[in-house]
Structure formats: structure tokens, C-alpha cells
């Protein structure tokens, strides 16, 4: 549940550390002025003082209450300003907002995660949670894709994840270079490589709209039921309260009713892949 009484008023947070992840992506470790709890998949609004705010799903573990980490791709005005932030500067955070991943629906199952580009951010938070509760899941397979090897983010985390029992990581890049030893091609090719018992599995998808679209279609083709495909629908969430209307996707306010939806819930809403 939200921490603030006035949900428009940001909580101050100090930038503790800036981590370059790729040429266009940086992670920011933030120290909120008081403890900040969230469920994995819920999102926050990050305010650059006097400049603007933008929605991000934390990429850190929801079990950590004192620090919060967001991973930001430089893609517009506010994200450019965020990329200019230096350690010690103060930002604002509002939230957490929305409906995150329903972990209890994953218990006892194989979890297949399809991620692309900066869409790894919410997934990393989910993975921290899955690691912490790994006894409750059969197996977790991460299929991650990026444009080039240097666009692959969270390299140290991936190395650690590969050592965790029950967790498997497959990666692909659209365009490989000489040093790349994993798959080449769009991320959905990785789904051809995995062995999964679909009748006892759920799939999670997070990434750019085009990848979400074709990833979902591929999962449907593989036989996943519509209610077992969980999508992170990141839209133009602004107020976070289901009031301002900027993130409407048909009858849903993504900020309040999402951002995590099953494909079954949203398949009949308009323009879901834009």
C-alpha cells in the first residue's frame, strides 16, 4: 500500500550510486528518507525536482526496504534529466502504485520469463523475489534479448543467477559480435531452445511493445493458456492513482489495474501493443 498520505507529494530520496549498464541505460540506487516497501512488479513515479516525473518499476529486491534501485533508459526529456543525476542529489519518489506480479499464482510451477532490453528491470526485481522463495517454484528460465552484446544489462547479476540452483539463463542479441558466445536472433528464438512442461508453467513477458507482441504470440503458439501469460504493460502512467487518464488502455487504468495483466484480461482492449 502507498506510504504517503497525500499521494501527489513525493518522498525525498538521495541518489547513492549511479551504475552505467549500457550506452543508453543506467541504474540509480536511491536512499529514501524513510523505509519504502513495494511488491515486485508495482511501480513508482520518480521526480526530478522542478523538471518532471516518469514511471519506473524498481529493479531491486522487494525484500530490501532501505534502498530502492531503478534502471532507466534514456528515451525522452525526463529520462535525459535522470541520466544527468549524480550521487548525492535528491529526487522524489511516489508510490508504490498498481498491481504487481501475483507470485502466489506461480507457486509450484515452472516460470518462464521473456525479457527484452530495459524490460529486464522489473524482471530482475521479480527474480530476486523468486530466488528468495525458490523452494516454492519448480524451475525458473530467463530468456533475455538485447540489440547487441553491449546493450545487455545486469551482466554481474546474470553471472550470479547462472550459479543459482533451479535457475537457467538464455540470452540472445539481434546482432552478435566476435566475442558473443550465446544465441543470435530476436529473443523469441530462445523459446525454441527451452524444455518446459507448459501444462504446469506460467510465462512472464516484459520489454518493448514489439517484443511483447511477438513474445506473447509465440507463447500462445507454444500452447500457453491466455490466463497464464503475465504481461507488464508499461504505458504513460502519470498520477498513479487511476485519475489522470494518461494510461488508459480501454476500460483499464494501467497505473491502478496493472501494470501486470494476464493476456486474457487485456486481449480485447484496443491498441495494447502501442
Amino acid at each position: 500500500m502507498p506510504a504517503q498520505e497525500n499521494m501527489y507529494k513525493p518522498l525525498r530520496a538521495r541518489v547513492e550510486k549511479v551504475i552505467p549498464e549500457s550506452p543508453a541505460i543506467k541504474s540509480f540506487v536511491l536512499l529514501p528518507e524513510r523505509e519504502f516497501a513495494f511488491r515486485t512488479g508495482e511501480f513508482i513515479e520518480l521526480t526530478v525536482n522542478g523538471c518532471g516525473e516518469a514511471p519506473f518499476t524498481p529493479s531491486s529486491s522487494p525484500l530490501e526496504k532501505k534502498k530502492i534501485e531503478v534502471t532507466v533508459m534514456k528515451a525522452g526529456y525526463v529520462t535525459e534529466k535522470i541520466h544527468e543525476l549524480q550521487p548525492g542529489e535528491v529526487v522524489g519518489i511516489r508510490g508504490p502504485f498498481g498491481r504487481g506480479y501475483p507470485l502466489e499464482r506461480f507457486y509450484g510451477k515452472e516460470v518462464v520469463i521473456l525479457g527484452g532490453g530495459c524490460g529486464f528491470a522489473p524482471i530482475r526485481s521479480l527474480l530476486y523475489n523468486l530466488i528468495a522463495e525458490k523452494d516454492k517454484f519448480d524451475k525458473v528460465t530467463l530468456c533475455y534479448g538485447a540489440k547487441t552484446p553491449e546493450d545487455c544489462i545486469y551482466k554481474p547479476f546474470v553471472d550470479e543467477l547462472r550459479k543459482v540452483e533451479k535457475f537457467e539463463v538464455l540470452r540472445s542479441v539481434d546482432k552478435a559480435d566476435e566475442g558473443w558466445e550465446e544465441r543470435e536472433g530476436v529473443v523469441t528464438v530462445l523459446l525454441d531452445d527451452i524444455k518446459v512442461n507448459i501444462t504446469n508453467s506460467v510465462a512472464v513477458v516484459c520489454g518493448p511493445p514489439i517484443m511483447m507482441k511477438f513474445g506473447t504470440f509465440k507463447l500462445l503458439e507454444m500452447g500457453y493458456p491466455e490466463h497464464d501469460i503475465f504481461l507488464s504493460m508499461e504505458k504513460n502512467m502519470s498520477c498513479g492513482l487511476g485519475k489522470c487518464g494518461h494510461c488508459m488502455m480501454g476500460k483499464y487504468y494501467v497505473c491502478k489495474d496493472g501494470p501486470v495483466f494476464t493476456y486474457e484480461e487485456i486481449k480485447d482492449q484496443p491498441d495494447i501493443w502501442k
Binding site: G50, M73, G245, G250
Partner: protein, 334 residues
């Protein structure tokens, strides 16, 4: 509640004068071109009751064009708004659902509502684009007003609808002669209501109802929207003037303050995300979006009607677009 009182128009004006020191009073004034809420003062000319509709929708009192929602500046005076038509009161029901709905109660909106007493009025006239009854809304206040008012000849017939309204008129009773209306005048009130309803029914006989319009929109293809949006200039006037359009933009100010400013899905870029994707990039899609929102999506989520038939969006459109003509065309071709 629902006690009915009668006071002469002269005493009504004196009563309003007596309230001036403690509250801001807004009344509908005919300025020769349109009707608009004006701040009341003694001997103010042009005050008209029971005529539809003030240019500004009621929402502008509760969702100002700009409002700081982090440091909310309190309204010093209480407000009394007189002459609210039933279409706007019905629109307020949707605003209340959105802004006062749990778990996120909007405190600035809450305060604006609490500080205000609303006097709704029967409509004794209709305008060419009025169509409230087509959407199940009577042309007289049924809910959300603290008091309702019908001006008949030189008498004001007042019905108390809430505790806030009763408290206001307890004071009136202490200072001015207030009586009970006779049967004849109450009959006249009912007669005027019926006349207004009959006129609206005749004017809108070919207009499909609210739910039927939703079904027509659901089934409509792209062509009708492309054709009718050809004269739309994306000015957003339809949404600004609409009593139920409530979308807003949060603007950042120094010291982490935020200002809520009215916004509209008709403006290019309303749903655009950082990487450039924009579900509402095309004008006809934005144009259709507003009607999808009002007739298809909102009814799936909210109890209150999302178009209350005030007709302002048709009055104000500089592209001469009439949604009613579009819906009648859809109905005729269905």
C-alpha cells in the same frame, strides 16, 4: 429531508445579501450572449434561474484549470453555487467516483467539495443541443444538490436535500418569512417539469439512448470517425467544457511541488510514452477515444453516466462537429 419551502424573490435576494460576508456566492447571469456563473453582489443585474446552461461546467469549481496538489491552498470562504443544472449535478456523481473513490481520495478535490453548498435548479427552457433525458437524466435535480430551486413568478420554491442545505436554510427561516408552498404552485412546478421533458423528447426523438450509443460505437468501423473528425482541430474544447471529462496533467514545480492542470485526450501526445509509441497518434483515433471512453469503457467501470447530455461539446466545437448527428447517423444505418 426533502422539506419544501417558499420565499418571495425579494426576500431571497435579501437572504443572499445576508450571506455575503461569510461565503462566496455564484449565480447564473445572462450577459446577453450566454449564461455564466458570476460572483453575486447586491442588486446584481441579469441573474436568471431555471435556464440552461452556464457556459462553464460545474467541474471547474472542483477541478480548477490549475491547482497545486502538494501545497493545497485552502479556500478561505465557503462557496454557495446557485443555479446548477441537473446535467452538471449528474456529472458530479462521476467526478466523485473518480476523485473520492477508495483507496486514493484526492484531498484537494475533497476539500473543494466540502467547502461548497450546491443549489440545483429545474430547467424551464431547453437549448438546441440539450439531451439529458435521452440518457436517463431528468431536467431537474434528483441527486447531488444540497438544495433545489424553482423560480415561479415572484416566488422561489426550495427543496432541502441535505443536512448542509437544511443548515443554510435554518438561518434563512430565522431572519425572513418562509412559508410552505400551496398546492397550485407545486402543481405549476410539476407542469413546467413535464413541459421541459416533452420538449426534450420531441427534440431528441431520433437520438439513440446511452447504452444503445455504446453498442453502436462498439460496432462502428473507422470510416465514420475519419469522416467526422476531418474538421476537428484537436483544440480540446469539447473535453475542457465537458462536465465529466476530468483528465489532467501533473506539472512539476521547484521544491517537489506538483500542479494539476486540466488536460484532454484530444491533444496530440496525450498517451505518448518516452520511446515514442503513441496509441492515439492519429486524429480520428483520438476523436473516437473520447466517445469510447464515455459510452463504452466508463460504463464498464463506473456507476455514473459519463455523458449527461448537456450539449456543450456540440455548442463549442469550432469544427461544427455534432456527436449527436454522428450517433443518429450510426443508428439510422444500423
Amino acid at each position: 429531508m426533502n422539506e419544501v419551502l417558499q420565499i418571495t424573490r425579494a426576500n431571497w435576494n435579501l437572504f443572499l445579501d445576508s450571506l455575503l460576508t461569510e461565503m462566496d456566492i455564484y449565480v447564473p447571469v445572462d450577459n446577453g450572449y450566454s449564461i455564466e456563473y458570476e460572483i453575486y453582489a447586491s442588486n446584481l443585474e441579469g441573474v436568471v434561474y431555471n435556464r440552461p446552461v452556464p457556459v462553464s461546467p460545474l467541474k471547474s469549481f472542483f477541478l480548477p484549470v490549475k491547482e497545486n496538489v502538494v501545497i493545497h491552498r485552502k479556500i478561505h470562504n465557503k462557496r454557495l453555487i446557485i443555479g446548477v443544472p441537473s446535467c452538471d449535478l449528474a456529472g458530479l456523481a462521476l467526478l466523485d467516483e473518480i476523485y473520492l473513490g477508495e483507496p486514493f481520495v484526492d484531498s484537494a478535490y475533497r476539500e473543494n467539495r466540502d467547502q461548497t453548498v450546491l443549489i440545483g435548479t429545474d430547467c424551464h427552457e431547453i437549448r438546441e443541443n440539450c439531451h439529458c433525458t435521452s440518457y436517463g437524466i431528468e431536467p431537474y435535480p434528483e441527486s447531488n444538490a444540497d438544495v433545489t430551486l424553482a423560480a415561479i413568478e415572484d416566488k422561489m420554491i426550495i427543496t432541502l436535500k441535505s443536512e448542509k442545505g437544511s443548515a443554510l436554510f435554518d438561518r434563512c427561516r430565522r431572519s425572513f418569512p418562509v412559508g410552505e408552498p400551496g398546492e397550485a404552485i407545486l402543481k405549476l412546478v410539476q407542469q413546467k417539469r413535464k413541459e421541459t421533458k416533452d420538449r426534450l423528447a420531441e427534440q431528441n426523438q431520433h437520438l439513440p439512448g446511452y447504452a444503445a450509443t455504446g453498442n453502436l460505437i462498439r460496432k462502428s468501423g473507422d470510416e465514420i470517425w475519419i469522416r467526422h473528425s476531418s474538421t476537428c482541430v484537436s483544440c480540446g474544447a469539447c473535453a475542457t467544457i465537458c462536465p465529466t471529462c476530468t483528465c489532467f496533467l501533473l506539472i512539476d514545480r521547484p521544491d517537489f511541488e506538483k500542479v494539476r492542470q486540466v488536460d484532454a485526450c484530444q491533444y496530440p501526445g496525450f498517451e505518448r510514452i518516452a520511446a515514442g509509441e503513441d496509441p492515439l497518434r492519429q486524429k480520428y483515433v483520438r476523436f473516437r477515444n473520447r466517445y469510447m471512453c464515455k459510452y463504452v469503457w466508463k460504463p464498464e467501470t463506473f456507476k455514473s453516466t459519463a455523458c449527461t447530455g448537456c450539449g456543450r461539446c456540440i455548442d463549442c466545437c469550432i469544427g461544427s462537429i455534432s456527436k449527436n448527428k454522428i450517433f443518429m447517423e450510426m443508428a439510422a444505418n444500423s
